[in-house]
Structures are given as C-alpha cells and as structure tokens.
Amino acid sequence: MLATVIGKEIRDLIGSTAFAVTFGVCAVLILLSFYVGAANYKLAVAQNDASEAENLRQMEGLTDWFSLEQHRIFLAPQPLEALVTGIGNDIGRTTEVKTRGELTAEDSRFNEDPIYAAFRFLDLNFVFQIVLSLFAILFGYDAISGEKERGTLRLVFANAIPRATFILGKLIGSFVALALSLVVAILLGCCLLPILGLHLTGDEWLRLAAIIVSGLLYFGAFLTLAVFVSAITQRTSSSFVALLVIWIAAVLIVPRTAVLLAGRSVDVPSVDELAAQKATFSRQLWKEFRDQLNSFKPSPAEDMEVLMASFNQFMDSVTTERDRKMDDFAGRLNEGRFNRQKVQERLAFSLARVSPAASLSLASAKLAGTSVDLKNRFFEAARAYRETFNAFMKEKTGMNVGGRMIMFKSGDDEEAPEPIDPRELPAFRLRAVSFGEAVAASAVDIGLLAFFNLVFFTGAFIGFLRYDLR
C-alpha cells in the first residue's frame, strides 16, 4: 500500500507540466551556478597569480634584503568558493607583511570590482536557499488541501488505507520525486566542474557532497513544512499564503533581523575607536622613544665600527621594548574586540538559526571554507607567516627588525652587488580546511536542518491524522 502511494506521488508530480517547467528552470539555474562559479574562480585565480607575480616583480633589482620595503601575501581563492561564495568576496585578499605592527587585509573583490557587489553572484548556495525552498513550497502547498479540493482525498479514503500510510507515502514520494530530479541536475553540474577547469581534491569533493546533503536537508525541511501547512489548512489558497509569509520571514527577515538584534544587544568597539586609542598610546611611546634616544651617549673615544654596533644594540633594545609595549596594548584591544565580536556572532547566529535558511548558509559556508572564520584563519596564518618572514629577514640581514644605523661604503673599484632572489622568500599558503574539520564545524547547522525535517514531518503526520477528509 505504501509503495502504491509513493509510486502514485512520484508519477503525479513528475507527470505534471508545472514540474517540467519548474524543474527546467531549477536545472538551468543549478547548471548556471556551477558555470558562473567555475568561471569566477578561474578569474579570481588569474587575478591572484597576477598579484603575486607583481609582488615578486617589485622586488626585482633589489640588491639587499634591507631594501625590501613592501612584501605582500595573498589569500588565494578557495576552490569551493566557486559554489559557495560566503564572505570570500567581502574580505580583503592581501596583507602587507610588516615586520611589526598590525596586519590589515585589503583589496576585497567587491572593493576592487564594486559592480559584482550590486547584485552578488549566483552561487549554488543562493540557488539552494531561494530557488529550492520556493520549489518545495510550489509542490507541497497543495499536497493535502489540494487533494481535498479536487475530491481525490475522499475517493482515496473510500479504500482501506490507513491515514499514516497515505501521509508517509506522500512525504516520501514527493521528496524522492523532487529531490532526485534536483540531484540529477546537481550531479550534471559536478561533472561540468573539471571540464570548466575547476579541479577539486578528494577532500573538496567530500565537502561538496556534504554541501549537497545540507541543501537536500534544507529542501526537505521546506517540503515537509509545506505538507505540514497543507495538512492543517482546508484550502490551497490559505496554505499558499501562509507558506509565502513563512518563506519571507524565514529566508529574508529572520537572518537579517538576528544580525541587527545581536548588533544592538552586544556592543563591539569600532575599528576607528581602537585605532584612536592605539594612536594615542603610540604617540606616548614615541615620546618615550625620543627621550630614550636623547639619552644615548656614545663614548667619544670609540671608533666608528664600535659606535655603530653599540648604537644598533641600543636601538634594538629600545625598539623591541617599544614594539612589545605597543603589541601588548594593541593585542589587548584587539582581543577585547575579537571576544566581543565572537559574543555578538554567537548571538546573531543562534537567533538566525530559527530559520532553516540561516542554518543552510552557515553550514554550507563552513563546509566550503568561506564562513566568517575565513578572515580569522587568514590573519592567524598571516601572523604565523610573519614569524617565518622575520626569521628569514634576520638570517638574511643579520639584524633584528627596528631602527638601526647603516653605514654604506662606496668605491669605483668595487664589484656591482648581486640582486636578491625574491623566490627565496618563504611561500605563504593558507591551509585548507579538512573534510573532518568542516563537518565538525557545521555539525550544529546540519543537525538543525535534520531537526527541522523531523519537526515538520511530525507536524505533517499529526496534522493529517486529525485532518477533516470530507
């Protein structure tokens, strides 16, 4: 009996003209999102390669490492950013590696090309979040009330079929029919990726599979929600209007409102406030530094070499102390701000997770490696890189970073100095998130999506057991 109802549901859905049209549109959008994503990724990789090459080119001709005034590292595009953009286009993609001081990310994609920010990219996450939820509503809003209006419900229940079997068959049948057709389109898109020049590693394929599973759970949540609403309303018009209101609230209002509420509830000091405090402290340190410089009294009897060594030692000592104080102060401020941001973020995400749309966005961005953590990961990696860079520079120049006195000798008979080889610089690479890490990070949101399915499924089930079949 269950198989009969499932089979009927699949045939009824797939056989309709509305399905053919809607599925066609969805399939085109899914394939388009893969195509656009792959094309954008290739463009971003090309831009990143060009920027890195330009960074190295600027070092050409330098004859000593002291002269290296500007060295930049770049956040290479994440391959799965092609499908789930996340904050990939919003954060700065490069930072200047200074031997001391704070690191700041600059040149976000949207900053460089604001035209893309106007309408954002069509990515797989957008298709899942907007199109799939509407697709689910479109085919679920009349699942029960529509059968009642058309009179088929009465005819079906003139037979010895338990209500539980019917609703179970309906839910399974409609999910299988709609989800399988979407999976076909998604798999086609996956096959296109290598052809479009986007080669994923095994780990990235696994993460993409988890993104697709999240998308299907999200789709299932909206489908079961639609059947649930249909099972507690008597008219298709009522269930459609109710679902439209829920969709607007869940997809458009709740996530944004959650961020606004969290922003109002948890104060986070602005970057400008912090910068002002740091500048005041820095001025104070400079004043102390000048006083210390004035206190340096070289012994007049010493020769020039000894004088320079003594001065450099003195400078190393005071600049290291000054930098330590500045770093401590800035570190405390930054940590305070970071902690407040984390509280704000946790509150915003907890509130937003009332909506399956927010859970999907958070889960898929974490799986793709483009969540808000990307910025932190970039800075952590950049700070770690700076240590390596400073060690490299000390090895090359023999000096600590900071103020120093350099004596240049010149003479016609000297050989021209050899240029430095910029390729000797340590390479910067952001470690990719592993499949295990990504799944662990997104477990709460994937679990929530499964929970939404369970809640709405139960609602539809109970709603139908009490439904007026007349």
Partner: protein
C-alpha cells in the same frame, strides 16, 4: 465479478446520528437496511443529510450516536475492514488529472487491494462503462464530466465490493449519459451488489430504485419500497412530504 448475496443487509444505518462541533444536527437517528441486489435512493434537498450519511459509511466522520454497518461491520469501529467491502463514486469525480484513465484505474485498484489486473482488464471495464478506447490512455485533464464519471464507475466495478455508495452520481450528466449510467447501475445490481444512492434526481430515482427515502433536516421523513408507490408520481410525493414536514417543523 459476481458477489454472493448474504442473508443480512450489506448496508445498514442503525439510529445513525451526527451532530457537528458547532451544534448542527446533520443526521438524526436514521435507520435503513439495503440487501444485496437492491438500490436504495436517498432523496432530499441540500443540507438534508444525504452526504453526511455517506461520509459516515466511509468513516470520514464518526457518528455521535448509532452505527453505520457495511456487511455487518461497524464502520467507526473497524473502518479498514468495512472499507474493504465498499466502493464509492462521488458527485464530481476528479481523479488524478496528470494520470491517464488506465493509470487512475490501476492506482485505485491497487488501493482497493486488487493487484492482479492487467491492461486488458482495464480496457474491458472502461469499454463496459462506455468510455471509447482512444480515451483510455489520455490524461484526464481533457475529460468531460461524463467521461470522468465513467472512470469513477469503472473504479467502483474493479474494486468488486459487495456494497456501493453513490453520491449524486447523475448530477451534471447529459440525458444520454444519465440513461447509460442507469443501465450500468442495473447491471451492477444484477450482480448482487447493495447500492446506496443519494440524489436530487427524482426521475432517475423512480426509474432505478428498489426503495426510496425522502430526507429533510437530517431525518428520513418518508421511506417506501418502490413497488409500494404504485402509480403515484414520486415528484408529487416528494413535494407533499417536504411541504408537510416543513409545516410540521414550523408548527
């Protein structure tokens, strides 16, 4: 598809009563019994309680008092067993519009527990109810009401249940389709089925029914065997009873 007539009634209402949650008394202690090979026509205006009675037999609603029995099984106590013994044709048979006539028959036959039918069986039954062969594999979207009604009757025939419930089966049918329908009903009765038909159509009820009941305000105000009506005009009787009952109710 012959049903062996049983001794007892196949369809039976015993003090069947339904009061809705809003207090409306839709059915007030009605009693009737229909044996195999009998057609029982319930006549009455809108809101008389005819459809409520059918809904109670299908256990789509539960009675407030009394029982509806199908082949001796109380419908609200053993609904699934009771429904195995009844087929239903609704007023406006819609069926699944994206399915062909054959696909609809196949789905409902399986729901009715009949899984052994072949395409030939479906063709034969559709031809028997008068649906032209070229329409068998067409989607129901383009079907007229008469064609859909024929599919509905075919579904009831395929179920091969001892009892059949018909809710306004001739409503909206053209005269020829109505006459064809009565011919078919006659054949089904001859197979020994008990048929309960609710209708507004006095003329067709007179033509086919073995017993007639007139309902008003949830009560059976007149119940007679067709043979007992003699040469009297059923329309006159209907108007007379309806007028008398309303006057009585007003007094």
């Amino acid at each position: 598809m012959q049903t062996t007539p049983t001794n007892g009634p196949l369809l039976e209402a015993v003090n069947l009563t339904k009061r809705y949650e809003d207090g409306v008394l839709a059915l007030d202690h009605i009693n009737f019994a229909i044996r195999g090979g009998e057609v029982f026509a319930m006549l009455g205006g809108n809101g008389a309680g005819k459809t409520t009675a059918i809904n109670l037999f299908l256990n789509l609603i539960e009675p407030t008092d009394g029982e509806a029995r199908i082949d001796g099984i109380v419908t609200h106590k053993e609904p699934l067993r009771a429904k195995e013994r009844v087929a239903f044709v609704s007023e406006n048979v819609m069926l699944y519009q994206n399915f062909t006539a054959v696909q609809n028959l196949d789905f409902f036959a399986r729901l009715g527990g009949k899984t052994g039918y072949t395409r030939d069986d479906y063709r034969d039954v559709l031809l028997r109810v008068g649906l032209a062969e070229d329409a068998h594999n067409k989607r129901l979207k383009g079907f007229s009401k008469g064609m859909r009604q024929k599919c509905g009757i075919a579904i009831a025939i395929l179920k091969d249940a001892p009892a059949i419930l018909l809710d306004e089966p001739t409503s909206g049918l053209d005269p020829k389709a109505g006459r064809d329908f009565l011919g078919l009903l006659d054949e089904i009765r001859a197979e020994g089925k008990a048929i309960l038909m609710s209708t507004h159509d006095i003329f067709r009820a007179r033509e086919i029914a073995d017993s007639v009941a007139i309902m008003d305000d949830g009560r059976i105000i007149m119940q007679e065997a067709a043979s007992a009506l003699g040469g009297r005009d059923l329309e006159d009787i209907y108007m007379q009873y309806m007028g008398g009952h309303r006057l009585q109710a007003a007094v």
